[in-house]
Amino acid sequence: MTPFTYRKGESHYHRLDPRYKLIMLALVSVSVLQAAFIPLLVFSAALAQAMVRVGIHIPTALKHLKFFFLLLLLIFLARTVSEQSGDTLFKIYKLQVTTGGIRLGVLTAWRFLVVMLAGMIFSRSTRPSQVKSAAQWFLKPVPFIPEKRAAVMIGLAIRFLPLILQQAEELSLARKARGGDLRKNPVKRITELAVGLMKKSFRTADQTALAMAARGFSEDRTDPSFHPSRLDAAYLVLTGTTAILLFVC
């Protein structure tokens, strides 16, 4: 089980209407990318609290994200060397590292981390079937898009994602154990990992298609129904206000 896998719970986040949750997630992901240090710090503390409430064990989640941290490090480095404001701290060849660069690097990597953690809370507290239903509801008024098929694809993709991440981790460890890391040829390294991963995934997809057919799957199903409560409206207002504050402060 990865931190992105849905887990049953009794928290407010679990009980919210998935359509409201999607709107809230969209608001957060837009505003966080504009947030300054102090508002981001306050929001991160609130997010950590939310993670605990939905049952995410923070140290375990961080352990699962070690590849992601490598990417964050690259984002940090790229942003650090691209910004030249402030005092110069040191120089490596033509690359100049400044206080302004470090500040921007930390802020950018932190914003990315916060967006990712908000997404983690969403996927941890929302059943794939609920995401599917909400997506169908949002896509219904859009012309030329078969909303039911698109919704089924979203539901399937959300189910496949943690499985793929888990399989990738297992394959990576298995390759390391066999000395695969010592291979220098990059094409072979990518091919070995990707073929192993995709073969496993295709087998899972085949089994899923068979299981769906066996259960009489049809796109012509009853539309999902939603019953929003006051709690949904309260959370939406709270998130909207937070998003505005993150955007303007």
Partner: protein, 176 residues
């Protein structure tokens, strides 16, 4: 296309949505810089699913990201990323996967055709991404190419060659 085939293609397309999203988190260290597999999975979606289902899988992927799920590179999501400086690359995935799928489907299957299809797809991707980056950030053409294309070309070349081998190994599996 009969019902079962259509169901299988829909499941494969959903699988590719997940693979493209997971590609943002799966990195392979090659030298000092890790290679992220996201755009390789986009190209593979075109090769293995064809233009129509490839387009569908990229569309669903972009939709998930627009909703705010952390599926874009760097584990981010949200409409802000689509409208931001790198949005051109994300939108460019749509014509990229379609062109790759179309060229691979219309021609006789060979590794050379696959590689040509992916090169065309990549050219389309940069043709969408670099101008968008230029206009979104206000940088000049030279800087836009320096920041948004040149550093990624060697990694892209490696991924295209690897994807051609991967497609060759996986096609027989997809025929069931």
């Amino acid at each position: 296309m009969n019902f079962m085939n259509q169901l299988r293609m829909m499941t494969y397309a959903s699988l590719f949505v997940a693979l493209i999203a997971a590609g943002a988190f799966i990195s392979i260290p090659v030298g000092p810089v890790p290679i992220v597999l996201q755009n390789m999975f986009v190209l593979l979606a075109g090769l293995l699913l064809g233009p129509r289902w490839g387009l569908a899988s990229v569309f669903i992927y972009l939709l998930l990201g627009t909703f705010g799920l952390p599926v874009f590179a760097g584990g981010t999501g949200g409409i802000g990323r689509i409208l931001g400086p790198t949005g051109g690359y994300l939108i460019g995935y749509l014509p990229c996967v379609y062109a790759t799928g179309l060229i691979a489907r219309k021609n006789k299957r060979s590794r050379l055709v696959d590689i040509s299809a992916m090169i065309t797809g990549s050219v389309i991707l940069y043709a969408a991404g670099v101008p968008w980056l230029k206009f979104a950030t206000g940088m000049g053409w030279e800087k836009a190419f320096m920041a948004g294309m040149y550093p990624f070309l060697p990694g892209n070349a490696v991924k295209i060659v690897a994807a051609a081998f991967i497609a060759g190994k996986l096609r027989p599996l997809m025929k069931g």
